[in-house]
């Protein structure tokens, strides 16, 4: 009997030590369920990546090659003109690519003064959110909305003219309804939607 008890104790100790050795993995798996990321945190994180990618492309690729080294142009018709896509086009292309690969979230660029009218605020949340980010510079807008039977967590982030290239390109474009954007202006918003 004693022998059996010893055996059980050994097995028990071995189990504990194995658990301790693998504790990092255990912790991750065990912690994942209760501490899930809130939709707002997920949206904020997605926005951080989007903004970082766009800023990196704008500064490290576009600004360097177009403005400083004058090696290549950037153009709306980048394929025909054998040029670099504009940052907003890169953003949209990536958003469409993401939409092809995932239905866990979607994102787009909207504005009260869009070059393409299809990108003006459409849903009630978009209309409210775009107004909010214009009226409250630097603030973000969050709301739940129901579209086509699905409830979404919708976040709208201000899209600010970070350089004169943003404002002048929009001001000069013949399809732009606004011609007096300045650096620092909120030109529109990035909408991120997460189905709940």
């Amino acid at each position: 009997m004693k022998h059996i008890k010893t055996q059980l104790a050994v097995i028990g100790l071995a189990g504990i030590s194995m658990a301790l050795v693998g504790c990092n993995e255990e912790k991750t798996t065990a912690a994942a369920a209760p501490a899930s990321v809130s939709p707002q945190k997920m949206a904020d994180a997605l926005f951080t990546v989007m903004e970082a990618d766009r800023a990196t492309y704008t500064q490290k690729v576009l600004k360097r090659l177009v403005k400083e080294e004058k090696l290549i142009k950037a153009s709306e018709h980048w394929k025909d003109d054998k040029a670099l896509p504009l940052p907003a086009q890169m953003f949209r292309m990536a958003s469409e690519r993401a939409a092809e690969n995932s239905s866990d979230f979607s994102y787009s660029l909207i504005s009260a003064w869009p070059i393409n009218k299809q990108n003006e605020p459409k849903t009630a949340a978009e209309k409210e959110g775009v107004k909010f980010i214009e009226d409250n510079p630097g603030k973000r807008f969050y709301k739940e909305e129901k579209l086509g039977g699905t409830t979404y967590f919708t976040a709208i982030y201000p899209d600010v003219a970070v350089s004169s290239a943003c404002s002048s390109c929009h001001n000069d474009h013949k399809d732009s309804p606004k011609t007096d954007f300045k650096v620092g202006d909120t030109m529109g918003g990035v909408v991120i939607r997460i189905p709940l």
Binding site: E100, Q118, K122, L147, G148, P195
Partner: protein, 453 residues
Amino acid sequence: MKSSNKKWWAMWTVSTLLLIGYYAYAMTNGDESNFLPGPSSHGHYQIELACDTCHGEAFAGPEIMQKACVGCHSEELERVEDSHPRKKFTDPRNVDQLEQLDARYCVTCHNEHRIEITDETGVTLPSDFCLLCHQDIAEDRESHRDLEFNTCANSGCHNYHDNKALYEDFLVKHADEEATNGHAVLPERNLAAFINAISDRPLSSLMASDADMPNTVTQDDIVILSWSASAHARNGINCSACHMSSYVADDRWNKSPSEAVCKECHAKEQEGFLASRHGMRTAQEMSAMSPSFARLAMKQKSHEQSLSCHSCHDSHRYNTVEAAVEACIGCHDDKHTLAYKASPHYQLWQQELAGTLPEGSGVSCSSCHLPREIIRERGHQRTAVQHNQNDFLRPNEKMIRPVCLKCHGLGFTFNALADEALIEKNFTGKPEKTVASIEMALKRERTDKKKAN
């Protein structure tokens, strides 16, 4: 139960069993024509009995059908930079629009087996469907105020998928072009140079005496003569390359090599052929397309033919000059085809053949319907002949950039393609239609500049 009721029940049972038996027999014997809900469009009727190609094996839902559409058509849509790709419509913000027109699915606009409402571009919606999403266009474009919504897709204006030659800045850029660039030539075909570039054994020209068939094969002087005058002999492709191709496992002499052998050097061309009206049945492993099965007018004498590489490219001679005109005319019997030999395009073709114009100046049937493309293959650039004529057919603005603009100005092209009578005459004469799109774009450019100043 009354005896008359019994009689009716018996009749119902027997007729039901007969019907079930009939359809079961039809299904198991491969005759699925009974299950067609209606005649198919001109684009698909050739393969309408290969039901699974579009419907999937278990008649699955819309996603499977969408996958089937994309399976055949995605490459073209990508090449023309589709203006309304599915990925633009999956964003939930478009849900209201999708209720009007579910642009995520091809079948929303291209509803198959509804031939009575199918137009020549395969669309089954009323022609003013653009209205559903763009009803407020007149607010943004004064020039569009008096236009009807069923004129949006007129030649030279808009196209749902392919606007590569129709966007405003393109119109402005090409506004001042002459009707014809008299010095234009098509890209030179250079397959031999390409093969030499990728091969470690450079090919050299061969003569009749170089023919390398084994002694066991009976020599046919006409065949050897035909081959020795061909581009194959000129570029070092000997008998064994096709008849003893390593593609055939045991390297024995094969009297009638399959077309899998052609693919070894002409893969891109064969891929186009299999996607085309000529080869789509073969691609589905059905009996090959025959002119007798065509919906277009075909010459009676061609009805017995079945289409393969060799129906246009005669074996051994592989004469591309004949393939470019005579092969087409041998079958096609519509007004446009019949008018070709009286056209200025044909005159140029004859002058090229006579050597009075440089190579590539002539305009054959294939110059426009099987155009030459510059492609990249295995890290090298080469000229390929696109054998899928469907990519350049309907609506005819699909031809503008890959074909017409090679020699003509944009304005002239728009006017010519809008003039159906001129097309019927195979472009003999001058366009009598005037498309306003370039003028509209220029006008807007002028007003915009004024605004800027």
